[in-house]
Symmetry: C2
Subunit: 343 residues, 2 copies
DNA sequence: CTGTTAGCGCTTTCAA
DNA sequence: TTGAAAGCGCTAACAG
């Protein structure tokens, strides 16, 4: 029942294993009749090559790791599909790893992936293993997305949305509707996504004459990975008197929307809601928050291309940064603030 | 820059590679001071084992393949997360493969997985490679879900919902509301999921005195993998006069719901809609179809356990079949038929 | 054009 | 308790 090996094929075809290898890889010319005999033997035996042995010899596994907080998050699962498609077209397989944003899980997955000799790693970092990832990036091709590693000697590529201009667009949208007490439900402040989004918010507000600093009351620091955090943020900011909310990612938005739904808040009459990111089945929701559309499929495809190029270049490429332009998708969850709520 | 090997560790610790191996695997007693020296050397060199070499020697890769039509489908992505969690707890990694329900993609992925020496395969079969999968199942642990392989000598486990009683519940629900012209938007008839769901429908209807045979006009054979197919089915059956629709899976339901939304059909006044399966953000939808809840996380965890047991038993276990009980989740998309539509 | 052989990194038998 | 050495399946350098 054990699988046939190259030796079995060679014996059956009456040639040496080197010849079989040459036929398999077309790595050198082989006489026609021998090719026939080898192929016949392969078929007879149902032989397929052992790519583990090949990896050991060749030092490439044709395997890539995809590390995210939660593959069940619709944004990541939309992405992984196209990562996989592009990689597969190049003969690669994909290991999927969900870290839950946890430091230990992340580092243990990274160890496993290295032991398995992956050729490269695509990762949405937790922000808690920055030094480790920087080290790895100098030995192995790495492509980051959504979250940067703030280390000077990090080597690798980075893909994200244009966070700054996306949040500016959302903020301006709300400002134009007349809102002033605009709340931002943000994620962990040590993540580049969070800081960039906060910066965009602050900049747009400043232009409107509003200072967003430590004193600004309508900021909530939640957790990008927790829907419940979005609900908590919405509750806190709404109770403080915010007339409009921006959720900084899709999960936070979902939590905020659930809060509104459960509290029977009228959107946009009592509260305006918009968000950065993609919500599935958006057009079928009872209220569609205005949002910044994301393109997980396109981002995934780009990431896969970047990592393949980096693998093929043996990690010699200069760092690259790709920003996807953002698009404001109007919904029906935002409107003018109630007259009695104007400051 | 190349990674340290067991040889480097041995040299640095002044011991043989056998001793290093014994320390790494605790496979035999080693004198205390040598253990210290080896561990020190490992740390100094930043050594981590090459699991590829280990696989070649040991004949197990600690790797499992997960093969589905589309990992971006919310049902599968919810599942893969818990598959991964359980496997990871046992030291396994997971290869994710989306076949798009395509015969060639499926078989090519299966080849790749075998070449990579996966220890087992969890698969939602396309239905187009049944003999191949049956063959594989006799060499390698296989766990199927949602779709059976109709071959007597298939070896492996199977996990699914209780399709029959689920559809019966949906059908009875509609019958009790007074519907008679109930449409079923089903998937490919060569898939066990489709036949089982059709059987349930037929049985419930028969009990109500309605014969569902070739002549029955309110049957639509669509494609489980295509949202658009759900829209086409809804259109066709609605135009034929169906007063209520059952979509046989989540994607078909989504398509049907989108059709209703675009056509501004009033649910449930003009049409009742219910479905088998889970739709994400269900409670935030403008209309919530009554549906049969599924438990992808629980199913995934169970699948992972089954495949691990089967791997550890060296594929000697008898075939097992696990059915998850179904639960009817009431929504607001179903109601009594309009008076003028009663037959 | 073909075959022999070393060796990828590891585990494990066998001897000491 | 330790080390030497064979061998997992494959590729590629080398010799013919």
């Amino acid at each position: 029942m054990a699988n046939a090996t190259i030796k079995d094929v060679a014996r059956r075809a009456g040639v040496s294993i080197a010849t079989v290898s040459r036929v398999l890889n077309k790595s050198a010319a082989v006489r026609d009749d021998l090719v026939q005999r080898v192929n016949q033997a392969i078929e007879d035996l149902g032989y397929y090559p052992n790519s583990i042995a090949r990896t050991l010899k060749n030092d490439n596994s044709k395997t890539v790791g995809f590390v995210v907080s939660d593959i069940a998050n619709e944004f990541f699962s939309g992405m992984v599909r196209s990562v996989e498609d592009v990689l597969n077209r190049h003969g690669y397989n994909l290991f999927v790893c969900s870290t839950d944003g946890d430091r230990t899980r992340e580092s243990s997955y990274l160890s496993l992936l290295r032991e398995k000799q992956v050729d490269g790693i695509i990762i949405n970092v937790s922000g808690k293993n920055d030094e480790l990832i920087t080290n790895i990036s100098n030995q192995l091709p790495v492509a980051l997305f959504s979250r940067k590693v703030p280390c000077a000697n990090f080597r690798g590529d980075f893909v994200d949305n244009d966070n700054f201009s996306g949040i500016v667009a959302l903020t301006n949208h709300l400002l134009e509707l007349g809102h002033r007490r605009i709340g931002l439900i943000n994620g962990q402040s040590y993540l580049s996504t969070a800081t960039e989004r906060l910066e965009g918010f602050r900049s747009a507000m400043r232009t409107a004459g509003i200072t967003v600093d430590e004193e600004y009351p309508y900021l909530y620091n939640g957790n990008f990975n927790r829907v419940s955090s979005g609900g908590d943020g919405a509750k806190a900011l709404y109770e403080k008197g915010a007339t409009a909310l921006i959720a900084a990612n899709n999960l936070l938005a979902l939590g905020a929307l659930q809060f509104c739904h459960e509290q029977h808040l009228l959107l946009p009459e009592q509260l305006s809601l918009c968000c950065f990111g993609r919500i599935s089945n958006l057009d079928l929701l009872y209220i569609r928050p205005t949002c910044i559309e994301q393109y997980p499929a396109a981002m995934g495809a780009r990431l896969a291309e970047l990592i393949i190029e980096r693998i093929e270049s043996k990690n010699t490429l200069l760092n690259r940064e790709i920003r996807f332009p953002t698009l404001l998708l109007p919904g029906n969850g935002t409107g003018a603030p109630r007259a009695d709520s104007l400051s």
